[in-house]
């Protein structure tokens, strides 16, 4: 690069490899008048070189510099790659606070409406599906029961057992100080039956099945499989969601019962080994303290947890936007939302059945 008589001479290569250095070199001519940029010595140029020339012309606009002595190749490259003729991108208008709130509310209204439609559809078709298997794949309920229920037995049993063990251990130390060893049975029975069994099972199912339902439906939506089903005159909710809904409805009471029993078993081990209680005394106390009402409330709410998981998983799955990225996003949202709603439902249940003024 040379500068003489208001002319800037550029030489040899104007490519992506030389442009960073040229930009650096150019800073020494800052403020100097440049009316012509001579390109006669330029032997090769690429789009980075042309972008550099554009930048130069823009920065020196007050001198109105001209590109001079271009050979055929340089001229052709400049005419192809110049960005000077492009319109400046218009920055998108920023919405004000009230527009944002309004849009948020409208979105909330729309999503609530969609969710209500979906819930109605799922319940309607599940009820119909009990009597009429048309529009479902044969054996799909059993297959889904295996995936949602049987495959989850191991992990739910293990975690319930550990949780029962932890609960009993934590309380045993305290109870022992007061000689109230036998109350560990009350604690285990009531906490596992009314709270821990259902909620632990629901949270594991939300993580396992909620995510798989959301990602399966989202992937099907992205790859146009849902559209394909519609074109074959098959209701996607009936075909995909209903088997899962029925399967989880069958599985959840069984899983919750198992979780509760295994959790109490964990407590029993602590009671026998650490609190010197016999198994017979422990179980007598458990059955004495438990009421049918507690057991029914525990099992009853688990149905709502299960339905929430399927509904939320399908809602997010059907509302996926974009491609692979969208699938990942809705899967996360579905798991977070199902755990959130499971806990909210649990709180409501406690308020309704256990809150006495």
């Amino acid at each position: 690069m040379k500068y003489e008589n208001h002319i800037l001479f550029l030489e040899e290569e104007l490519t992506k490899f030389t442009v960073p250095d040229l930009l650096h070199e150019l800073s020494q001519y800052k403020g100097k008048k440049i009316s012509t940029i001579d390109l006669s010595e330029v032997s090769s140029i690429d789009s980075a070189g042309v972008a550099f020339l554009d930048e130069l012309v823009l920065n020196l606009h007050k001198f109105k510099p001209q590109l001079a002595n271009m050979n055929e190749i340089v001229e052709s490259a400049v005419s192809t790659f110049t960005s000077l003729s492009l319109k400046k991108p218009v920055p998108s208008r920023k919405d004000n606070f009230f527009i944002l709130i309004g849009e948020g509310l409208l979105r909330w209204r729309d999503s609530t409406r969609d969710a209500i439609y979906l819930i109605a559809d799922i319940f309607y078709w599940s009820f119909v599906g009990l009597f009429n298997r048309k529009g479902q794949r044969q054996g799909s309920i059993i297959q889904q029961s295996l995936i949602i229920g049987v495959d989850a037995v191991g992990i739910i049993a293990l975690l319930s057992f550990i949780l029962g063990l932890i609960l009993a251990l934590q309380s045993a130390a305290q109870l022992r100080q007061f000689g109230a060893n036998i109350f560990v049975a009350d604690l285990m029975a009531i906490s596992m039956v009314t709270e821990m069994g259902p909620i632990l099972t629901a949270i594991i199912l939300a993580g396992r099945s909620g995510s798989s339902i959301a990602s399966e439906i989202a992937t099907m939506k992205v790859t146009e499989e849902i559209d394909a089903l519609r074109m074959m005159a098959i209701n996607p909710i009936r075909y995909i969601v209903v088997p899962k809904f029925l399967a989880i409805t069958i599985c959840i009471p069984l899983l919750v019962t198992m979780s509760t029993l295994v959790g109490i078993l964990g407590g029993l081990i602590v009671a026998v080994t650490y609190l010197d209680l016999s198994a017979v005394v422990f179980f007598n106390r458990v059955f004495e303290i438990l009421t049918m009402r507690d057991a029914l409330i525990g099992l009853g709410k688990s149905f709502f947890f299960a339905w929430v998981i399927v509904i939320i998983g399908s809602y997010y799955g059907f509302n996926v936007k974009g491609g692979a990225e969208g699938v990942g996003k809705v899967t996360t949202q579905a798991v977070v939302a199902s755990i959130f709603w499971v806990i909210i439902l649990d709180a409501l249940n406690s308020l309704i059945f256990y809150f006495k003024t």
Partner: protein
């Protein structure tokens, strides 16, 4: 004698037990447009992917820019890759990024250019493929043809020495396809690019091809200039060019 820029010798590729490429040897010469032809499933895409090490060949040698790449270490191969642009069959844009960001990836990763220069280059490349207005959209918001053009903009972002296009005009309307051909010719002349194209479109082949390589059942059936291909007496090649002339 001009040195080939890509040279493949006795390449064998298999999917499990099935041999897809059987002792394929071919040369691709610099500053030419080479079209790889052949029926569906004859191994065209496999050939490209084996050349670029996306698949590991069973045996044979691949030289790019006079360097053996099959046994090259990752770092050295990356420097070769930065001189190659690839347009995939269905675009292969990153779905989580806008079109602008997609095109910026090679520029940001492989050059020391400033953001203003990079932005200018991206806008020019998008303008070249007639996509000036979509830079802030996500790939999922574009049509199939637009995605392909955006992917081409990404492939030529670095003005590569070699551009490889896997079925560039499939799914495009004839006008866009013709303008894409024009763009490819322009790139070849301006940037002295070597271009390898896998395509079936006869119109496109007539417009741009310098050299033809015809694959059939994993073997090279014909290799030569477009003129030679048109006069070829090899039945498959002859049929291909005859059928394409609308009966």
């Amino acid at each position: 004698m001009i040195e080939p820029i890509i040279s493949v010798k006795d390449l064998v590729a298999k999917y499990g037990e099935q041999t897809v490429l059987d002792n394929v040897s071919l040369d691709i010469y610099p500053e030419e447009i080479t079209v790889i032809l052949g029926g569906s499933g004859c191994g065209k895409t496999t050939l490209i992917k084996n050349i670029l090490r996306l698949f590991e060949p069973v045996s044979g040698s691949v030289k790019i820019l006079n360097k053996e790449v099959t046994r090259m270490d990752e770092l050295e191969f990356n420097s070769i890759l930065s001189k190659i642009g690839m347009l995939f069959q269905n675009g292969a844009l990153l779905n989580s990024l806008t079109i602008f960001d997609n095109v910026s990836i090679p520029l940001v990763q492989h050059t020391k250019l400033t953001p203003t220069i990079i932005a200018k280059m991206i806008r020019v490349k998008l303008k070249l493929v007639n996509l000036a207005k979509v830079e802030n959209l996500l790939p999922s918001e574009l049509s199939g043809g637009m995605k392909k053009r955006a992917a081409l903009a990404r492939a030529i972002a670095l003005d590569p020495d070699i551009l490889i296009c896997d079925e560039p005009s499939a799914g495009l309307d004839p006008l866009t396809s013709a303008s894409l051909d024009e763009l490819i010719l322009k790139l070849k002349n301006l940037l002295k690019m070597t271009i390898v194209i896998v395509t079936h479109e006869l119109a496109s082949i007539h417009r741009i091809a310098d050299r033809i390589i015809f694959l059939d059942e994993g073997k090279v059936l014909f290799s030569g200039t477009l003129q030679q291909a048109k006069k070829s007496v090899i039945p498959e090649v002859e049929t291909f060019f005859r059928v394409g002339k609308f009966g």
